[in-house]
């Protein structure tokens, strides 16, 4: 079937893509700048068409625990929120990781800490890729840079979540969530009719009862389990690294940026090249697993790397770890909902690495 072309907000694209992906349930709570996801789904009322359940929970805490319950039944379920709401979900995310449940969590990031601002930011990087909740867990983190990718990563997110029995986060931001672009939507998928053998669907005579839990009071058992989780994360690091490169072949300087910042930096590369500077861009698509190996390879031929983020400098730490001292790595970013301009990036690249 042909893909359907529509003009949509990023948030709307997530909602429509979830219906088309054959999701079984969405559980959310309003918060700017992502409320359109819940609003769109309530308006679309997919329960009447695909049978997908849409529920407005009493809190982000309840919503993520609804996701836990649905995922425990082997269903395709998702939630979305924005930064302060995602903080509230961290307990549930930790339980979901600990119980090895598949689900999709969309974070349309706004600036912070605290109530911060409703404007876009990328300051939840640490929270997303370094844990966020308690315990030794990771989740796969996908960083869309367009409305198209906000739609595409719903399907990809579910695919990876079920493949590895792990929560997947789509780390977007208020700019991509709110802006309108054309988007090609996939045809409607049927909802699943068979469920994983671990799911709580009612104990059949043919199998032992299924238990969804993250508890193991025996230290030996808990250690073995945590090691098993780490093995899974290592497998994810080997198999699921995704990134995009722009004009890195002959680059002397590399910009590393994801999401909205990556779009800005694509223009920065053009501006810099017009001034005779050999600048390239690497855009991580997966933030966990991080494209460390590729950045390390590129570093062999670079004079410097600039990590460009709408934060006070978070991803820059992973870039530093990736190159392990091979080349100078610096951070440039704006905060508080301000999106850097392509020109600013070039000026800073020059003042940091060339004029200095």
């Amino acid at each position: 079937m042909e893909k359907e072309l529509r003009l949509m907000k990023g948030n709307e694209a997530v909602a429509e893509a979830a219906i088309r992906a054959g999701a079984d349930g969405y559980f959310g709570y309003p918060i700017t700048p992502q409320s359109e996801i819940l609003e769109y789904l309530m308006e679309a009322n997919p329960e009447e068409t695909t049978g997908m359940i849409v529920l407005q929970a009493e809190s982000e805490v309840a919503a993520i625990n609804m996701v836990y319950g649905g995922a425990g039944c082997g269903k395709k379920v998702l939630t979305s929120s924005s930064s302060p709401g995602i903080s509230l979900k961290q307990e549930g995310i930790s339980y979901i990781a600990g119980a090895e449940l598949p689900c999709l969590i969309v974070n349309v990031v706004r600036g912070g800490p605290g109530l911060g601002t409703i404007q876009p930011a990328q300051s939840d990087y640490f929270q997303s890729v370094k844990g966020g909740g308690h315990g030794d867990y990771k989740m796969i983190v996908l960083a869309p840079a367009s409305v198209q990718e906000m739609a595409d990563f719903v399907d990809l997110g579910f695919e990876l979540a079920f493949k590895y029995r792990t929560p997947v986060m789509m780390l977007s931001d208020g700019a991509i969530g709110q802006m309108m672009e054309k988007v090609y939507l996939s045809p409607q998928k049927k909802r699943m009719t068979t469920f994983p053998d671990w799911a709580t669907t009612g104990k059949k005579a043919t199998r032992p009862r299924n238990i969804i839990t993250s508890l193991d009071l025996e230290s030996n058992g808990q250690e073995i389990f945590i090691q098993k989780l780490q093995d899974k994360y290592n497998l994810i690091k080997e198999q699921e690294v995704r990134y995009q490169e722009f004009q890195t072949e002959d680059a002397e300087y590399l910009l590393v940026a994801y999401g909205t910042s990556a779009r800005v930096c694509q223009k920065s590369v053009q501006i810099a090249r017009a001034q005779g500077l050999r600048v390239g861009l690497l855009r991580p698509i997966t933030l966990f697993p991080f494209p460390s190996k590729r950045i390390n390879e590129l570093a062999d031929h670079l004079k410097g790397i600039l990590s460009v983020e709408m934060s006070a400098g978070q991803m820059v730490e992973d870039v530093l770890l990736s190159v392990n001292g091979k080349v100078p790595v610096r951070h440039y970013g704006r905060n508080g909902g301000i999106i850097t301009t392509p020109e600013e990036v070039v000026e800073n690249l020059k003042s940091i690495f060339i004029e200095a």
Binding site: D24, G25, F27, I53, L55, A57, E58, S59, V61, A62, A63, N65, M66, V67, Y68, G69, G70, G72, C73, K75, V77, E91, G92, Y95, A99, T200, T201, G202, K203, K204, A205, R209, N210, I211, I212, T213, S214, L215
Partner: protein, 259 residues
Amino acid sequence: MFEIAGIREIVKPENLAYRKSDLLTENVMSYCPGCGHGTVHRILAEVIDELGLQSDTIGVSPVGCSVLMYNYIDVDIQQAAHGRAPAVATAIKRLLPEKFVFTYQGDGDLAAIGTAETIHACNRGENILMLFINNGIYGMTGGQMAPTTLVGMKSSTSPAGRIAKTMGSPLKMTDIVATLPGTYYVTRQSVHTPANVRKTKKAIRKAVQYQKLDRGTCFIEIVSNCPSGWKMTPVQSNKWMEETMFPVYPLGDLKTPEE
């Protein structure tokens, strides 16, 4: 699982006066002697068994003494984060509406940290059975004050007794949820005498059957004891419960369907 030495010698077929439901596993329960949890587990398992619902049941266990409920009742069970069982059960029931879904929570879980989830699941009229074991104390963490602790009652965090002015008064969650249009059947029972066990079992059986009608939340509070936390013998604890708990938490139906 650990096993009490010699228990299989004692539990010989010829010594059995009563046979447990097949839905209770062989695992030795971790509950203290005299605790009501084991009895509630037993009658719940019996009802599910008698109604032939094993393959159609999904339970949600809490955080607290009954966190390991999944080791004792042979049905599919999800273990929820502290206080979140009603939210977890909401999604299970919405996504598998043909299944019998129940939650099992203590007073700290349901009436303190999970107050919002409890009230809102009931207010949406989620078609689930909520079992609420109220013994007025945090048992598993070692006897701290709960929202349901009586005024004057001693606990490890109210060593001089609960003072209403600074620590609040007993929170009557069952009375609160009974006022919500979303609840269909709300009752308060106990399991400290054979007669009360039978009444509670009857209430659970009714609630399970009501779930097929899809009329709203069924909520059963079971006022129970905590001999360890209360620092009493099982017999003393039951007597104290009758004399001191029941005046504050009177047994009986708070809301019954118009049949």
